[in-house]
């Protein structure tokens, strides 16, 4: 793997000192002064990631103020789960984040298992890890396409989304579903891996590796990509912990924060993996880190396929799901999604229904506080690229 080195340009820090005036920490504009234009970027806009919107105040091409508006995808999952039984909750948790549903499934199932005191079999753990890593690859592939697309290079998106489709085929073979898998049920996984699955995974891995080489040549080493992404959305290391930044975004700023390695879950402690960090902290560094993470995930899948026990139980015994009462307790389960720390906070009260389930998505801070801070003083052409480089996913903000 190529070392991600520090680049030579000067860091770009948002500077509010020019105009407008700040009053009580809020910028003040006189929109009638003909100096500022207010523009809504989204929800109907091809540049925003999913269904969210930015309320931008611009002066010429420069963004002066940015406010994120979310809630367009609010389905009230947390409310719905309060009135569903534990097993009934399961099919709807995966709908929380569309590009990467498996992390939700894992967090929910692991939380339920922890509170109910169920140990899942060894092989189920391996299959879960495999599933999580596969979903990471699929999500990253889509993200690379989005990052290139936000810069107007549609070709990368075409290639990667097609490649993601082959990964979805593997999911379909494994679980029966393309997008929503509902595979990691509480107590294990739903079905064993099909016969010959390993061979097909290897084939797709080979194709993906070839594609990634192409992408590295044509997109990451492209002079225009570099000139646009370098220096964009600079996150200093001090900001990481203050703003709750996690995942590849934090790692690109030099903070080694990876749930898989800091607090290993499932079988991650048995896998060999390297912490991928960069000390630059701009959008290009984030791109490189995520790209390296994709390769890392593929490596991990190969390791898992190699080390996974061939036989064994895949489901622990769980009580009758229709009358499943889980003793009172609370827990917080977290896992590493492509955007960072993804967690489920579950409180039970001894009844058939959960008392409260809260889903913590990494985009919650990335898309609101961090984006609003970083979007100041950049060109309006870069807002899409910045948003994608933070890998925002609106459904996990509003749930």
């Amino acid at each position: 793997m190529k070392e991600i080195s520090k680049s030579k340009y000067k860091n770009y820090v948002a500077d509010r000192s020019k105009y407008p005036l700040l009053k009580d920490g809020k910028p003040e504009f006189d929109l009638n002064s003909h100096m500022f234009t207010k523009i809504w970027q989204g929800p109907q806009h091809p540049g925003v990631t999913g269904n969210m919107s930015l309320e931008l105040v611009i002066n010429g091409d420069e963004v002066i103020d940015c406010k994120t508006h979310v809630g367009y995808l609010h389905r009230a999952f947390e409310k719905l789960m309060e009135r569903r039984k534990f097993m009934q909750c399961f099919p709807i948790v995966c709908r929380i984040c569309v590009p990467e549903p498996d992390t939700n499934e894992y967090c929910f199932s692991a939380g339920i298992e922890e509170l109910a005191g169920i140990d899942i079999p060894e092989k189920a753990k391996w299959i879960r890890t495999l599933n999580l890593e596969m979903s990471r690859v699929a999500s990253f592939l889509m993200w690379i396409g989005g990052q290139a697309g936000s810069l107007g290079m549609g070709i990368i998106g075409q290639w990667t989304v097609t490649m993601r489709d082959f990964w979805l085929d593997l999911f379909e073979e494994m679980s029966g579903g393309r997008i929503y898998h509902m595979y990691m049920i509480p107590g294990g996984v739903r079905k064993d891996l099909p016969e010959g699955f390993e061979l097909r995974v290897k084939k797709v891995i080979k194709q993906t590796r070839e594609l990634l080489v192409d992408i590295e040549k044509s997109f990451l080493n492209n002079a225009i990509t570099k000139s646009r992404l370098q220096g964009l959305g600079f996150i200093p290391p001090e900001m990481v912990e203050e703003y709750g930044i996690v995942g590849p975004t934090a790692r690109a700023s030099g903070k080694p924060f990876d749930v898989r390695q800091n607090n290993p879950y499932l079988v991650y402690d048995q896998l060999v993996m390297k912490m991928i960090t960069s000390d630059v902290g701009d959008a290009y560094a984030r791109t490189l880190v995520r790209f390296a993470e994709t390769i890392l995930s593929i490596d991990l899948i190969e390791q898992i396929m190699h080390k996974m026990p061939k036989t064994g139980k895949i489901q622990a015994k769980i009580p009758n799901v229709l009358n499943w009462k889980i003793p009172a307790g609370q827990t917080y389960i977290k896992a590493e999604s492509t955007r960072g720390e993804h967690g489920f906070y579950i409180i039970t009260d001894g009844s058939k229904y959960p008392r409260r389930i809260f889903v913590r998505g990494a985009s919650y801070t990335h898309a609101i506080s961090v984006l609003e801070k970083l979007a100041v003083n950049i060109s309006i052409s870069d807002t899409a690229a910045l948003m994608v480089s933070l890998h925002t996913c609106p459904p996990e903000i509003e749930r």
């Binding site: 091409d61 075409q158 060109s379």
Partner: protein, 303 residues
């Protein structure tokens, strides 16, 4: 030749050029699709699109200038085309070429964008003025190397008549401007990238930034006019470049082959690069292409 015959010929030539331009657009979509690994839309898709946009039942207008926008744009395309001799030595495709038509053509290339600015501004959508500001400033910058290159041609051939420039390049392939004045060609071809608005210079239409910019409010027949103009304008620009730098054409087949190859330069660059930021694009045109343009003038004037 009396004026009516001339006008009749011009109408034929405009229709053929428009059809050719639109078909070229269809082929380019197909090529993009193949680069993407797709099958792609049929070649005649642009024609169906135009029929469909005309077939809309409602058209929302935002005022008189809104009508004038597409009309001005189309007039720009038409004006550009009508003063370029398409096929050297053909009466049908001679159009209204005359002494000094090169200057008129350069004016018309600019004219359409100005008209569009008026019309799109009337639409009232905030992305329209952003797109117009980008378009006009980019146009100003890519005109610099192009103008320098044209000045080099004027010095080289001692004329501003396109027919005369084409005539001077006849005979051998080595008489083409491409070989007699390569610097001018390089400067002009780079500015053509900006003119055709493929990436990396697609900053005007940039769907991810300012969703398709100026024509965002254009609907129904307004849009259909713009689409028709796009076919004609692309053909006109390519024919202009073919005439000025690649020796013109003596028949239709040569014309189609040459313009197609010239366009492919733009298309392949477009498929392989992301988009510039507006200020980067402007800085780009004012740097190397301009220097090359100046070198080309020095090359023909003093060497």
């Amino acid at each position: 030749m009396d004026i009516w015959t001339k006008i009749f010929y011009a109408v034929i030539s405009v229709v053929i050029a428009t059809i050719y331009g639109l078909a070229l657009g269809g082929v380019v979509r197909k090529i993009y699709a193949r680069v993407h690994g797709r099958y792609g839309p049929p070649v005649w898709q642009p024609f169906i699109d135009i029929i469909k946009t005309h077939a809309k039942r409602v058209a929302v207008s935002h005022g008189i200038m809104f009508y004038l926008g597409p009309v001005f744009r189309f007039a720009g395309g038409l004006g550009t085309y009508l003063f370029i001799p398409v096929i050297f030595g053909s009466a049908v495709f001679a159009n209204f070429s005359m002494a000094g038509d090169l200057l008129l053509v350069m004016y018309f290339i600019f004219f359409g964008q100005l008209g569009m600015a008026l019309g799109a501004g009337e639409g009232g959508h905030p992305y329209s003025p952003l797109g117009i500001a980008r378009g006009l400033s980019q146009m100003t910058t890519f005109e610099v190397p192009f103008a320098l290159s044209v000045i080099a041609l004027a010095i080289q051939y001692h004329t501003l008549n396109i027919t005369a420039i084409v005539a001077a390049q006849q005979g051998s392939i080595l008489n083409w401007t491409l070989f007699t004045n390569p610097f001018a060609v390089v400067a002009a071809m780079i500015s053509m990238l900006g003119m055709n608005m493929h990436s990396p210079f697609s900053i005007v239409l940039a769907p991810q930034e300012i969703p398709i910019g100026p024509p965002i409010e254009m609907n129904s027949s307004f849009l259909a006019t713009l689409q028709t103009n796009r076919g004609l304008f692309v053909a006109a620009k390519l024919i202009l470049f073919m005439n000025l730098y690649f020796g013109g054409a003596t028949n239709l087949v040569v014309m189609i082959v040459k313009t197609f190859l010239i366009y492919m330069f733009s298309v392949f660059v477009g498929a392989a690069f992301p988009r510039f930021r507006p200020e980067q694009a402007m800085r780009f045109f004012l740097k190397w292409p301009t220097i090359i343009g100046i070198i080309s003038i020095i090359f023909v004037a003093y060497l």
